[in-house]
């Protein structure tokens, strides 16, 4: 398809995103924070990540955002940029970063919605810059030329081997 929307994540940006998430988790006093691609795939995370089924979390969050986006369009809004789900113990704050990623913050009574909102805002601006850098790299490649796909040289045998079990 060669769609321009393909996302390629290199080590450098991954580390910068992870650092930003770690900082956000600390400053917002959150249990865990996740950065998720709008199609439901996890990009990076920080905090008590092991306690959650991350793959399911990512997919359902993306579904949630997609459904809410649909609702926004129905009433003539461009998007609802923040979603908040309040539970008895734990709460979820969802926001859009750089138009293409979803930032999910899980927090409990040790934090507050106000604090999370504030910190998310600041952190989002930082992450947006990282996404810009990613976008440029995806287009130009890390060395200034288009990246060679690791799949450019796969053979039919490689593909068949995946299904051989």
């Amino acid at each position: 398809m060669g769609s321009p929307a393909d996302l390629v994540l290199y080590q450098e940006e991954f580390q910068r995103l992870e650092e930003a998430l770690k900082r956000l988790r600390q400053e917002a006093n959150a249990r865990a924070v996740f950065l998720i691609d709008k199609n439901g795939q996890q990009i990076a995370a920080a905090g008590d990540v092991g306690q959650f089924d991350v793959t399911s979390l990512a997919s359902l969050t993306a579904g949630n955002v997609a459904a809410t986006d649909g609702l926004a369009k129905l009433i003539g809004e461009r998007e609802f940029s923040v979603l908040f789900h309040e539970g008895q113990r734990d709460h979820i704050h969802i926001s859009i970063v750089a138009k293409r990623a979803i930032l999910l913050v899980i927090f409990d009574e040790r934090s507050s919605l106000g604090l999370v909102r504030l910190r998310v805002k600041r952190s989002s601006a930082e992450m947006e810059k990282i996404f810009e850098a990613m976008q440029q790299k995806s287009e130009r490649g890390p060395g200034g030329h288009p990246p060679a796909s690791p799949f450019a040289e796969i053979t039919d045998e490689d593909i068949d081997a995946l299904f051989s079990e």
């Binding site: 398809m1 393909d6 579904g63 649909g70 450019a152």
Partner: protein
């Protein structure tokens, strides 16, 4: 939209099972789930109504192994087949890498199959995809039913671009993995072209 993560050496692809209501899309995923080893799969999620009809989507993450050092992960989704859920169907096609069309072989469902393929074509277009170009496999499900239309006749009616086509009985698993493999393979071949 394929997501290549060089940091964790992962590649994630999204496959969507499309087709008319009650055609067996969820059953395909359930069979795959039941036959995959625990370490290769994540939890299967079904957002269904109380009557067990798909409301939003089913979701099943699958690890197929590694290619050139990259973990190859497929995220399988189904759409709700019932006509009035079109808004939800559209959402799920976002970022799709490959489509499996699950057709219902029963004679009285042929109209619904045709309509659903048209709907798929239209909804893909809205996301900027072309069914003519996207990795695509066709499955004739419910071959065990007495009122199943002959396969060659179904092919004549439903074939879109000479896509790989499989006869299946999803409840017992016949044809289920063949279909999945075919579309996964097409996706990887597509990746190679990039």
């Amino acid at each position: 939209m394929t997501f290549i993560n060089y940091a964790s050496k992962e590649i994630n692809c999204k496959i969507v099972y499309y087709g008319p209501g009650l055609g067996g899309k969820t059953t395909n995923l359930q069979y795959i789930y039941s036959k995959t080893s625990p370490e290769a799969k994540g939890k299967m999620i079904s957002l269904a109504t109380e009557a067990d009809r798909t409301l939003f989507f089913d979701f099943l993450p699958l690890d197929l192994g590694t290619i050139r050092g990259f973990t190859t992960r497929f995220h399988l989704y189904t759409v709700p087949g019932q006509v009035f859920y079109d808004a939800s169907r559209k959402l799920i096609l976002k970022g799709v890498d490959g489509v499996v069309f699950v057709a219902d072989s029963q004679e009285e469902r042929m109209e619904a199959n045709i309509e659903s393929i048209r709907n798929l074509e239209q909804n893909l277009k809205e996301h900027g995809f072309d069914l003519q170009a996207i990795p695509y496999a066709l499955q004739f499900n419910k071959r065990d039913l007495p009122n199943a239309v002959p396969a060659d006749e179904m092919y004549r009616i439903l074939n879109y671009k000479r896509e790989p086509t499989f006869e299946a009985v999803a409840t017992t698993g016949i044809g289920v993995f063949d279909t999945l493999k075919a579309v996964a393979k097409l996706i990887l071949i597509e990746l190679r072209k990039k």
